[in-house]
């Protein structure tokens, strides 16, 4: 079950994020060049890193789905990508806010890091419409997995290509972590951990909600008991097309009876 350990994970997330915020505003020194504006990096950079890692995690889970044909891996891949998209929106908005404060422009088109991140974001923005366009759940899951693997391979390639590019207008935070003063490095690592925990917690919430809905659907099918007179009780509403993966009732019920985690 996905709900197991969710409370502890939520508490850990809140605690680490609170500590991170405290460190950002009351412990980390002001940057000599950017001053107070540099505090945006403690939220912007972790959001971008976690979003990109989430896309890769989604690809790994898609590989597992194609290998095992287990719909639960497709659900995990979907949730990882879905959550990464939300985090990528956060990274784009916070990055734009920083750019406006630092460069005086909301967006700079000749900056490779910004444009490459936008390309990755737009690529993954087509993931949901792709799923929605395919009605057959099995085909939908298979095509979505192939997409997730291809796009997931593109993420590290894109990262390396940007690193190799000559224009270095965008600050290199990750490459300079060792050069950061210890107080800034500690704050950055704490914030990164906090955002990673937030990602994991939200993924677990999403998975728990989807699993509960699948269980409810299975229960509805079970309670579709024959009524006296030969008729059946109407408990099953018509299902509309959805981009979200569906767990089959057999998967839901067998996982429940076997008591396996991650059902």
């Amino acid at each position: 079950m996905y709900g197991k350990g969710l409370r502890a994970l939520s508490i850990a997330t809140i605690a680490v994020m609170a500590i991170g915020l405290g460190l950002v505003f009351f412990y980390a020194p002001l940057d000599a060049e950017q001053g107070f504006l540099q505090k945006i990096f403690y939220v912007h950079v972790p959001l971008a890193i976690v979003a990109l890692c989430g896309f890769v995690v989604g690809a790994v889970m898609a590989i597992q789905h194609l290998r095992t044909r287990d719909s639960r891996w497709d659900l995990r891949s979907y949730v990882a990508i879905h959550m990464s998209l939300i985090f990528a929106v956060g990274a784009l908005i916070t990055g734009s806010i920083w750019a406006k404060g630092s460069w005086g422009h909301w967006w700079v088109w000749n900056e490779p890091t910004l444009v490459s991140f936008l390309i990755v974001f737009l690529l993954y923005a087509t993931y949901q419409p792709l799923r929605f366009a395919i009605e057959d759940p099995e085909r939908q899951a298979r095509y979505a997995s192939v997409f997730a693997i291809t796009a997931g391979a593109f993420v590290p390639m894109n990262f390396v290509a940007v690193r190799l590019s000559t224009a270095y207008l965008h600050p290199r935070v990750l490459g300079n972590t060792s050069n950061l003063p210890p107080r800034m490095a500690l704050t950055f690592v704490t914030c990164l951990l906090g955002i990673a925990l937030l990602y994991a917690t939200l993924c677990m919430y999403e998975l728990t909600a989807k699993h509960t809905r699948a269980q409810l659907r299975a229960l509805r099918r079970l309670t579709d008991v024959p009524a006296a007179g030969g008729g059946r009780l109407q408990t099953q509403p018509r299902r509309s097309r959805s981009a979200a993966p569906t767990l089959s009732s057999t998967t839901t019920m067998s996982a429940r009876t076997a008591g396996r985690p991650g059902a």
């Binding site: 939300i86 404060g101 309670t223 009780l233 109407q234 408990t235």
Partner: protein, 86 residues
Amino acid sequence: MSGAVLGELPALPLHEAGKYVAGAYSVLFVLVLIYVAIMAIRLSRIERELGALLELRERSAVSEGSERSSALSGEPEASHPESTLA
């Protein structure tokens, strides 16, 4: 003690950068808030569906009970509401 700690703290935003920093952190807060609101809507939908399911189950249990009692007493079968039949 607290005075010494406060003395060590860097100055809070009183210049131009303050609004940008506040905006960036607000984005994260708003995103999480929207997500929590969506989760609350989903949870209420699940709760509503479970309630409906429970109600249907109770209704079928009542109809089964009345059917059994009428069969035992030898009376003709009780009619069932049309709305519950497919």
